[in-house]
Subunit: 246 residues, 2 copies
C-alpha cells in the first residue's frame, strides 16, 4: 500500500478570501512526485479548538499530516500551541531553535523580542524543520509536520522534509485528449474502468465558453496495466470518431 498524506492549511485569511492559498497545490505536486497519496486537505481559521480537532482527525487516519501557517510571532499565530494541545504535550522554548534565532538576530543587530521568541516555542518532543529562507524553524512531532504559511518558506521546508521520507513507487499517468464531451464517452469509458480495476481513469471536462471537450487521464503504479487501459481508451475514441464521420 502506498503511504498516505493529508494537509491542514491554517489561517482566517484563507477563508476570508484575502489570501489565495498556494501551498495546497504545491504539496499535491510534491506528494505525487514522491509517490505518496495525498488523500485529504482541510482549511480552518485561527481557532485553537478547530486546529486541534482537525490535526487529531488527520493524524489518526493518514501516515503524514502537513500543516501550513500560524507559526509566526504575532497573537494570531496559534498553531504551535494547538499542536501541543493536540498531542497533550507541554510547550516551551526549543533550546536549539532559541539559540539559532538569538544568534541570527544578534548578528543583524536586531532585537530578539518576546514576539520573535514565540517562534522558538515547540511542543516537548518535537524536532526542528530547517528554514533556509528566514531562520525561524518549523517542527515535527509524531507524524505531524508544522510548516510556515509564506509560500517560499513552506516550499523550502517541504523540500527538506521530503528528502528524508521513504519515497513510494510513483503513480504513472497518461493523458489522452478527447474532442468529445463527457456525455458522449461516459458509457463506454465506464465499461473500460470496470474491466481495468488496477487503473484509475479520470475524466476532466473542459469548457471553452461554447462547447465541452474532455481530458482523460489513466493512472496506475503498474506501467503495463496503464498501457492496456490506455489502448482501450484510444480505441474507443477512434471508434467514436469513425462513427461520427460516416
Amino acid at each position: 500500500m502506498a503511504q498516505t498524506a493529508s494537509m491542514l492549511a491554517i489561517g482566517d485569511e484563507l477563508l476570508s478570501g484575502r489570501t489565495k492559498d498556494k501551498n495546497i497545490a504545491h504539496l499535491a505536486d510534491v506528494m505525487t512526485m514522491a509517490g505518496i497519496d495525498l488523500k485529504e486537505v482541510r482549511i480552518v481559521g485561527d481557532e485553537p479548538e478547530e486546529i486541534v480537532a482537525a490535526v487529531n482527525a488527520l493524524r489518526a487516519r493518514y501516515d503524514y499530516v502537513f500543516t501550513s501557517g500560524g507559526i509566526g510571532p504575532t497573537h494570531d499565530d496559534m498553531t504551535a500551541d494547538a499542536i501541543a494541545a493536540a498531542f497533550e504535550a507541554p510547550i516551551g522554548y526549543h533550546p536549539q531553535a532559541y539559540a539559532l534565532m538569538a544568534k541570527h538576530y544578534e548578528a543583524r543587530g536586531m532585537e530578539f523580542t518576546e514576539a520573535r521568541k514565540r517562534m522558538a516555542r515547540t511542543p516537548e518532543g518535537a524536532s526542528l524543520i530547517d528554514n533556509p529562507v528566514s531562520v525561524a524553524p518549523g517542527f515535527h512531532i509524531g507524524n505531524v509536520y508544522v510548516l510556515a504559511g509564506v509560500p517560499a518558506v513552506f516550499q523550502a521546508m517541504l523540500e527538506k522534509i521530503v528528502a528524508g521520507l521513504p519515497q513510494g513507487p510513483v503513480v504513472l499517468s497518461a493523458a489522452v485528449e478527447c474532442p468529445f464531451g463527457e456525455g458522449d464517452i461516459g458509457g463506454p469509458l465506464g465499461e473500460i474502468q470496470k474491466r481495468h480495476p488496477d487503473v484509475v481513469i479520470g475524466s476532466y471536462p473542459k469548457f471553452d465558453g461554447a462547447r465541452y471537450s474532455t481530458e482523460l487521464v489513466v493512472r496506475s503504479r503498474d506501467g503495463e496495466a496503464l498501457s492496456r487501459a490506455r489502448s482501450e481508451v484510444e480505441a474507443m475514441l477512434a471508434d467514436l470518431a469513425a462513427s461520427r464521420s460516416t
Copy 2:
C-alpha cells in the same frame, strides 16, 4: 450571530496536483461579500465514503455546505449518489432536470445518452440549481448545495444561490501597511488585540526574498470598533517609526 458556511471540494485531480482549484478562493470572496462566515473547507477524492463522511460532518456544524465537482456524466462522478447516501434518501431522475436536458440535447441534435442522463439524477427531495452555462443543473437538499467543479459553471451556480440567501452584515476591514517585520510589532499588536475583543486583527507577513514586512488587517462588523482599533494600530506604528529614527 453571523451565518456560517463550509465547502467540500471533490475530486482526485485536486489532490494529485493535476488541477489547481479555483473554486475555494472564489467562494471565500463571495461569502465575505455576502456577510456569511466561511469557517471550514475540505478537499476529498472521488471516494463515496469520504464524501458522505465529510458532508455529514459539515452539514451538522454549519448553516451552509457548498460542494464542487463530481456531478458530471462519467463513472468518476460520485457526488450525487454520495449526497443521497449522506441524507439516506433514494436517488432517481429529477423530472424537471430530465425534461430540460432532453429538450436541450434534442434541440442540438445530440443523443441524450445514458451518461448524460446521469446528470439528471438527484436525491429525493432535492431542488435544482440553475446552470445558465451548460444546462445540466446542480441541486440543493437540506443545507447542502451541490455545484459543478468547472469554474465557470461553479461561479454561475453560486451567483444564483447567493442571490436567494439572507445576506448578513458585511465584515468591514481596514488594511494597514507596516514596514516592520512581525517580530518588531508582535508584542504591542497583541496588546491592542486584547484591548479590542470586538475586532479581529490579522497580521500577514510578506517576504520579498530579502526581508519581511507585514500587512495588518483589522476586521469587524462594527465600524466604530474598527476605527478605534485601527487608530491604535497606526499610532503604534508611528511610535515605532519615531523610535527607530532617533
